[in-house]
Symmetry: C2
Subunit: 182 residues, 2 copies
DNA sequence: CACAAAACAGACCCATCGGTCTGTTTATTC
DNA sequence: GAATAAACAGACCGATGGGTCTGTTTTGTG
């Protein structure tokens, strides 16, 4: 619901109604509505870590690992029915960043985690001698990150979830031309 | 205020208080709060068109025109004090897309406009013989679009407006390597 | 099976939300 | 300068927001 209607436009009553829970139950487990959203982010982070990190340790080459990172934002948390975790992240960023520091901290931490992993993969590609050695890991990682974010948003705006995968694979081609050792 | 706190987290009372307007005055000019946001988008669109389109007709080459498009989201509407129109767009997309069809229509129209212009610039680059002729205009344009969106978001998350320009110029380098005729 | 703590249910609360409505003031036109 | 419409002011309204509080039920433990 947060992903669909945004955090502030989803009332607790609506959440309770659709889940069949009650206020008493809810406020026993969560201090506030904001706290629920924070828990959702936390869960998202854990879920993503649990699903992606192991795959990255399977010893694939940098190319494959990058592709893995591309599919991650869509795959994680069984988001097959169009629940795009990245959109939630995006929404909470634009709604809550200036309102509550906790959101600011958590969200930028997630991004930083992704960033670090992407950097590591670029570095891996260099040592595997498939990426150009003059690349700035951080910059390339940032470009990838931007694309993943943007592609999610455009998929949302187009109301066409499949757009994301199409976009990412076309980005992949151009990116590889730019970073691979010729 | 919409950019900072999101549409739903900005109350009309707050808007009236900070602008010094009154409800009577406001509702004489706007049918609703949503209508105000739509007017903001419209204004943004016009402002951008008025500022960017003329520059695109100055007869610069495709490279220069692309750079122009990169700086557009930050430049337009005198957003020097950190008001990033793109963030507003992003926020309204995640908050209002599923709520009100008008937002959906207007926002995706803006994106489509950008897209079309970017495609034209890629095509221009081909005919100027500086971009590879095998490029798919639409795909490359989409990649650029994604990057612009993503870079805005990352600048927001990093709470560092300057990030946007840094990011875009580093993207520029990689992009040009990928699309330019060697 | 007693009994305490954990978990849940939902009536209730007040602040505030977007929006309306009845004035009053300011422009415009003849 | 009277008449009329445009523009504004702000008291007011019902609805709903997140959140509290007083119970009741369930669960674990001796």
């Amino acid at each position: 619901m947060f992903t669909r209607y945004g955090f502030n436009h989803t009332s607790l009553s609506q959440i309770l109604a659709t889940t069949g829970l009650t206020k008493g139950g809810f406020y026993f487990h969560f201090k506030s509505k904001e706290n629920l959203a924070l828990a959702v982010i936390e869960a998202l982070k854990e879920c993503w870590a649990k699903e992606i990190l192991p795959k990255l340790k399977e010893g694939k080459d940098a190319r494959e690992n990058l592709k893995l990172m591309f599919s991650a934002p869509g795959d994680c948390c069984n988001s097959s029915e169009g629940i795009r975790p990245t959109i939630l992240l995006l929404n909470l960023a634009t709604e809550m960043l200036e309102v509550n520091d906790k959101f600011s901290t958590m969200l930028s931490q997630i991004i930083k985690d992704w960033w670090t992993i992407l950097e590591a993969i670029i570095e891996q590609g260099k040592s595997e001698d498939i990426f150009r050695s003059d690349l700035d890991n951080q910059s390339v990682a940032a470009i990838i990150l931007c694309n993943v974010m943007g592609a999610n948003l455009l998929a949302l705006l187009n109301k066409e979830p499949a757009f994301y995968n199409r976009q990412l694979s076309s980005f992949e081609r151009v990116l590889f031309i730019g970073i691979e050792k010729n």
